[in-house]
Symmetry: C2
Subunit: 143 residues, 2 copies
DNA sequence: ATATCTGCAAAGACTTTGCAACCTT
DNA sequence: AAGGTTGCAAAGTCTTTGCAGATAT
């Protein structure tokens, strides 16, 4: 699958010396929470970057395969992307009003998942865990 | 949202005395795990039931709103449906090979979710938890 | 008899793919 | 100069909606 040329500097965030790639990276870094490819594309356009939607999709796909961005699916089926800080396994606590997300560790969940799976005789278990709620700001705003 | 006429018998599984609705209900009851609307539609056709894909989608939508079927999304974005046994909150342990699913209780996860959310100051927290793995049968078959 | 349900076809949304032109190395 | 990258347009999915005909109560 991945020949892994390993020629990449890995120092900065650049994927390849392309203007579009850098712009995308910049936007991703500034996002507070999960956004759809189309939102990201719109944001890039607003910044004056002439980038195609196709290119945004392609980069996001590569980045997600590389583990540099996390992806989740919202209720309507759209895929949402977010630059993830830690490369370790983690989950997200997402504000359903403003979209801000917090990365949370889930050792307890991992353990629970493995235990439940073992009890049912399942192996090679993977899991999906996402938390949605109201962040402090939005919570007080709606109070 | 739901005026809740509550005129429905609620005894059987019938939604309304329609042949298609009953057929759909029957198929749902016999499914071992989560299936897409299109798979269910194909299954109905194979049984000789002449039912439209549109009707399948509409019934599944209503049933899911009523809490009679659970829905999840697979990796490709398709929505999968399954008649859920308990009406209480629960999660699923799904075999990624044969699709068989087991309903599991997640008191531990619920507690973890609330605790993590509270620590971050989030309120009104909801969560999504799905476990994917290999069931005993598929596990030994591939060994 | 009437309100509901059904289903075909068309529309809508998100995402992927083809291919020529462009840019980076 | 060579190869990867870009982007427009078209295609592909899954899902929803419009409307006329059929159906259940």
């Amino acid at each position: 699958m991945t020949p892994v040329p390993a020629k990449r500097p890995l120092g900065g965030t650049r994927v390849r010396g392309t203007r579009q790639a850098e712009a995308l990276s910049a936007v991703l870094g500034g996002l507070p929470g999960f956004c759809s490819a189309q939102q990201i594309h719109a944001e890039l356009r607003q910044r004056g970057e002439h980038i195609g939607l196709t290119t945004v999709y392609r980069h996001l796909q590569v980045l997600s395969e590389d583990g540099q961005v996390d992806t989740i699916r919202d209720a309507s089926g759209e895929t949402l992307y977010r630059r993830c800080g830690s490369n370790a396994h983690h989950h997200h606590l997402i504000c359903r009003t403003c979209g801000t997300s917090v990365e949370v560790e889930g050792r307890a969940v991992e353990r629970w998942a493995e235990q439940v799976a073992a009890e049912a005789g399942f192996t090679a278990v993977d899991h999906t865990v996402e938390l949605f709620g109201l962040c402090p700001g939005c919570s007080s705003a709606s109070a």
